[in-house]
């Protein structure tokens, strides 16, 4: 850090020295920023922003949100050509992606032999529904062998030929049939299609978790390039839906629009500051404290956490917006002949009171027990502190000598006359509070509890997703049956026993289809029963010999089959843990949850597709021990409301700390009350007006209100500055007008966005700035002293 400014030096440094200092500063920032950008990992895992789950359901929900099959599923629709052409493309796409490491599974309705991992082939007699009654008897084998003989003779038999010698009853094919996702979408030419045959449908399960933006991005781009490489793909349309596609799309759209709006706002801001200060260098220099704050925040997060959630960054940069006002205060309060350092020292108590009490308030979030909020606290505190300190100690050294006294500018004079002429009577505050209270009684819903609202997806896309999901019989995102038990094999066996009842539910139309882990890995007991049903080597050899009578197979043609059945008889039953590193593991992992601790139950999930009658499901769940119907939506809402309650509690605590901080800084309850009253009233008004306008609040609103309150407190602190003369009051007015105008400009632009997040932030802050500015001017300002020299 550079040495503290020497108060004795009244003459600014030479321009060369000033500019080289500024360049050095910018360079250091650049280096630090590059390090942080290089080291920092931005995560999209929403769970960083959620409280620790309390119930098993909530824990399950969080797991499902991130890693469950639902969150990794991409739904793909190909359209824009005749069904036959689309079928061809569907096949081509699947073939191209079959070996792609980004995907665990790509399905288009076609069953493929190669979906059975080699390591599991030996288990075929344990995994398949079991050789059908008598199929390994002499008669059954004879029928199978006769069919295989015909396969051999058929040009179409090439598909089963590789299996034939070791698996003449084609158990392997039956396993593949069993493993293909349940439910039966409409088909054309054997492939999944939308009911109107205009779209070929596929599902792809990514290897990357749903919240891993890089992994999802990689999967999406390889999907797109595979489609682009198909013949005549130009004429066709590829549509991808699902959580991964949504987050990519929303990130791109939000990023793009925020970028454009940010650029416009930046130019507007520069123009505004150039006009306000009649200088080009001041606006440029004024960017340094904010940039320092942002980079310090990033660096602090990098050093402490290594990984930061994208929302931390978005919120953090938003909250740091207060720091843009710090250099403005410095610039507006300068007088000709006064050294920058002296101005800085003069405004420092006020500036420090604001920044310091904000930092104090944000400390609360360090103890929120939520990683995302901890990161946010570190980012904001480091950012605000560095921005304030650099405004105090570094920026003044770079300033050229002031040429004009802004106390003479016309707009502040006008505002001084209009706004600060007299003090509002006390009852106005009470009246305002009552007005707020009345608005707040409105019947509109208060909260937007939908977790998805954090990264809102446009409704048409969601509807489209629902349409594709139902056409593909993809698992319902809301309802889930959960079987509890002591251990994995226990829940496997219990859920296996549900199959008959589930089939009845399908038959009755309560659901369209279902999926459960026992479909892939039967319970140990079932596998053992199947093993016991397998004939011993001698019996099978005898049956096979009898079966071969009258057929032209070589006597030793099926030795591989005999060996395979014998192996199957003696293998230890396959356990879900044995599936590790096979594509099936990802399927079963999402459906089975081993207990985390001795007290936790093991869970087996039954995912449901096309839920038509939740009450029938609830009744079904009641009839079975340890089975419950879980409503993910209700659970998510309970989680969201728990989380919101926590955040609100923290915010209340932060407000309290803020009040303490302001009181300590001003060393007077009276003055603190003067400052805090307009802030509190302003915040109440923002809440009341938005509520009256029918806005359901989400996190973005809350964060925006915090920013607005922070700005409002700065306004109030500066209006309240004691012992200022009328000229200095006009300088303060100038500074606050520039602050408010620039903030209003930026956030009105954001508020014009069509993206809900940006609109929420923009409109809330813009409204807040206007209200806080007016209230601070009317309620916090003190009558100015007669004009004279600065009193300090």
């Amino acid at each position: 850090m550079l040495p503290v400014a020497d108060p004795a030096r009244a003459v600014p440094a030479s321009p060369q020295r000033r500019w080289s200092l500024a360049l050095l500063w910018a360079l250091l920032l650049g280096l630090l920023g590059a390090w942080a950008a290089d080291t920092l990992k931005v995560s999209g895992d929403l769970r960083l922003f959620m409280p620790a789950p309390r119930s098993a359901e909530q824990r399950l929900l969080l797991q499902q949100l991130g890693e469950g099959p639902g969150s990794r599923l991409l739904l793909i629709a190909l359209s824009g050509a005749e069904p036959d052409v689309l079928a061809e493309r569907s096949r081509g796409l699947r073939e191209a992606l079959a070996d792609d490491d980004n995907f665990v599974f790509v399905g288009n309705g076609e069953d493929a032999l190669d979906s059975i991992p080699d390591a599991l082939r030996d288990y075929r007699y344990l995994l398949s529904p079991g050789p059908q009654q008598g199929s390994l008897s002499a008669d059954g084998l004879h029928d199978a062998l006769r069919s295989r003989l015909r396969d051999l003779a058929s040009p179409a038999g090439g598909m089963v030929a590789p299996l034939l010698a070791s698996d003449p009853t084609l158990e392997t094919l039956r396993i593949v049939e069993r493993w293909t996702p349940p439910g039966e979408p409409a088909r054309h030419d054997g492939l999944w299609f939308s009911p109107d045959r205009r779209e070929a449908l596929l599902v792809a399960e990514t290897r990357a978790a749903g919240f891993d933006p890089q992994g999802q991005q990689a999967a999406l781009s390889s999907l797109r390039s595979a489609h682009a490489a198909l013949p005549d793909a130009d004429s066709g349309r590829l549509e991808i839906s699902g959580p991964g596609a949504f987050s990519e799309r929303m990130a791109a759209r939000t990023g793009g629009e925020a970028g454009v709006l940010g650029a416009i706002a930046g130019i507007g801001l520069l123009l505004l500051l150039m006009i306000a200060y009649r200088s080009l260098s001041l606006p440029l220099l004024g960017a340094l404290p904010l940039a320092s704050g942002a980079i310090a925040g990033l660096a602090a997060c990098t050093a402490l956490f290594g990984e930061v959630h994208g929302i931390t960054l978005a919120f953090g940069f938003t909250l740091l917006g207060v720091a843009q006002d710090y250099p403005v205060h410095l610039f507006s309060h300068r007088q000709p002949g006064e050294a920058g350092a002296d101005t800085a020292r003069a405004i420092w108590p006020t500036l420090a009171a604001g920044a310091g009490s904000s930092c104090l308030a944000y400390l609360v979030f360090l103890f929120a027990g939520v990683d995302g909020l901890r990161q946010l606290a570190v980012f904001t505190i480091a950012g605000l502190a560095v921005a304030a300190l650099s405004t105090r100690y570094l920026l003044p050294r770079l300033l050229p000598a002031a040429r004009v006294d802004l106390a003479g500018a016309r707009p502040p004079r006008l505002l001084q006359r209009v706004l600060l002429g007299g003090h509002l009577p006390r009852w106005t505050s009470v009246a305002l509070a009552v007005f707020c209270g009345m608005l707040l009684l409105g019947p509109q819903p208060w909260w937007q509890d939908d977790l998805g609202a954090l990264t809102p997806v446009p409704k048409p896309l969601l509807e489209r997703d629902r349409e594709l999901r139902s056409a593909l019989a993809a698992p319902d995102v809301r309802w889930l049956l959960v079987q509890r038990g002591d251990d994995i094999d226990g829940v496997l066996a219990a859920s296996e026993a549900l199959v008959r009842g589930l089939d009845a539910l399908v038959a009755d139309g309560a659901i369209d289809s279902y999926d459960l882990a026992a479909r892939y890995v039967p319970s140990a007991a079932t596998q053992r029963a199947r093993q016991q049903a397998l004939p011993d080597a001698d019996t099978l050899r005898g049956s096979l010999q009898a079966a071969q009578q009258g057929l032209p197979f070589r006597p030793d043609a099926f030795d591989g089959f005999l060996r395979a059945v014998e192996r199957g008889r003696t293998l230890p039953p396959l356990r879900p843990a044995d599936l590790a590193d096979t594509p099936l593991a990802l399927r079963t992992d999402g459906l089975l949850h081993a207990p985390d601790s001795a007290d936790d139950p093991a869970l087996a999930l039954v995912t449901l597709s096309g839920v038509h009658d939740p009450s029938a499901l609830a009744a079904f769940a009641r009839q079975h021990d340890g089975l419950s119907l879980m409503d993910l939506k209700a659970t998510a809402e309970s989680l969201a409301s728990a989380w919101r309650g926590r955040v609100l509690g923290m915010m209340a605590l932060a407000a309290l700390l803020l009040a303490v901080g302001v009181t300590l800084a001003l060393r007077s309850f009276r003055r603190a009350a003067r400052v805090l009253l307009p802030v509190a009233l302003g915040t109440a008004l923002v809440v009341a007006l938005l509520h009256a306008a029918g806005v359901a609040f989400n996190l973005f609103h809350l964060v925006s209100m915090v920013l607005a309150a922070g700005l409002g407190m700065d306004y109030a602190l500066f209006f309240e500055r004691a012992e200022t003369d009328a000229a200095d009051q006009r300088r303060t007015l100038h500074s606050l007008m520039v602050c408010a105008a620039s903030t209003l400009l930026v956030f009105t632009l954001l508020g014009s966005s069509e993206i809900p997040v940006l609109r929420a932030i923009g409109s809330t802050v813009a409204l807040g700035v206007v209200l806080h500015f007016l209230l601070a001017a009317l309620l916090a300002a003190r009558p100015a002293l007669p004009e004279g020299p600065r009193h300090g």
Partner: protein
Amino acid sequence: MLPLLATAGLVTAGLAAATETARPAAVLAGAATPDAATLLASIAQPAPAQTAFFERRESPLLVEPLLLRGQLQQPREGSLIKAVEWPYVERMRIEDDKVSVERDGERTRRFSLKRAPELVAINAGFEAMLDGDVDGLRAHFDLAVLGDAAQWRIDLSPRSPRLAKKVVSMSLLGGGGELRCVDLLQQGGEASRMWVGDAVEAAAAASDEAARDALCVAANDAAGG
């Protein structure tokens, strides 16, 4: 029988045209290269075409080959039916790259032609036989012609490694304006020889395999090939 003869002609006609692109190994033995244009003009017949076939299938799993009889049909272009009539009934239908197999007492199997490269090639072979689509054949195989108009053999070797994984080679044998036999050798030792056209009855009646194989060589002129 006529369409079959026609297609055989088409094959040879196409082959004649193909020889300039054929590999150096292609040998045109004998003096008289079959006159493609004339053959084409005289025997070309549009779909639907149909012929009987007699097939002998060999496999390492079998002690004796499997013998089958049936019909090959081309109801329209781009469509092929191979109907086994004896010793059991089975109907394989290829239509627009889709394959279905119907068999007594079994569920109909359907799949895409694209999934079975060997079927694509074999289908192209039959198409070439039935409607003279030599281009289709050349898309999958390198062609080599041996012999003359009276007694010829066309060897087809797979062009793509993917196909070569399934199919070792195919051959068409014929002479005197007539296709007689189609050979197919698959990886893994599966082999098939199919007699078509006039050779079918004689093949079915033949007393042993040697006599049957002799039918693939021109009846009146065994000196060729």
